[in-house]
Symmetry: C2
DNA sequence: GTGCGTGCAAAGTCTTTGCAAACCG
DNA sequence: CGGTTTGCAAAGACTTTGCACGCAC
């Protein structure tokens, strides 16, 4: 938390109690991919006066500071996760078309492809997002088709 | 177009003039990733009476039939492209953080990772989406930082 | 104290839905 | 003809914004 606090202050933003509570929610949460409303519901427990707009504003601020990473799983709302800030530590998301469960998977295929893309397109990668859609073990078992 | 028409009829859906015009827009368009409104603007030229809701309904229908593929580039609206229906032909999107331009890139790394994921997670992949964020040649050149 | 940050409510954007009329097969 | 599909407008879901008050520094 102190690292996060420092990063916010370094950018001349204020470390308000609301911002702290919202960050804490991510540090504490078992739920890895919270939507704005998920976050709102968590922080309301600690500070009932907090507003949904404040949550949205904080999530956007934190994303711009790379404290959080904004995700999209195609369910009509943005989701966020703590950003570990290291490309090679990145993970991918396995999104089950049956139950919607999102699992994480990690495997370094990037170094190879990164070079290839730089050479062929002159495109300098700073981040990426990889989502696999399919059926998880349980749904595969129960699939009719 | 006849293949598409067949696929629609095979599923007992009607091949209406509106649906035809919308599909034609994708076949003709140079723009590879049209939003619902982009499509609406194109088809209005041909059929001024067409409604935006019809476009949305058609895009959803076509996606469910795998004629189109629904994409999300994080700009707050869904985008669509013709689906080539072959996992190994799939391409990735290079999204420039400078100018927003979306380029396509193709490289088969999937077969390898697919096996790995099936073994380790019991997850059966049917589709995936890979997006790289970074800076394209031009923006890299002009980047201050 | 000053100006950034907040809460609230209203507005905005994209998308979906209800319904009567139109149309495909 | 009958059930789909359409166009329109209204509603819905998520997110952003305007503004007066409050708080971090």
């Amino acid at each position: 938390m102190n690292t996060l606090k420092k990063k916010i202050r370094d950018h001349k933003y204020k470390f308000t109690s609301q911002r702290q509570v919202i960050l804490q929610a991510f540090l504490d949460s078992q739920e890895n991919h919270m939507s704005a409303e998920d976050v709102f519901n968590v922080v309301k427990q600690i500070d009932p006066d907090i507003g949904l707009a404040t949550v949205y504003r904080a999530l956007e601020l934190f994303s711009s500071l790379d404290l959080l990473k904004k995700l999209d799983f195609g369910d009509g709302r943005s989701r966020y996760e703590i950003n570990d800030n290291n490309l090679s530590h990145s993970h991918y998301h396995l999104i089950c078309l049956g139950c919607g469960r999102v699992t994480e998977f990690s495997y370094d295929f990037l170094s190879e492809i990164k070079d290839k893309i730089r050479k062929e397109n002159g495109f300098e990668i700073v981040d990426y997002q990889l989502k696999f859609y399919g059926y998880c073990k349980d749904c595969e078992k129960n699939k009719i088709q």
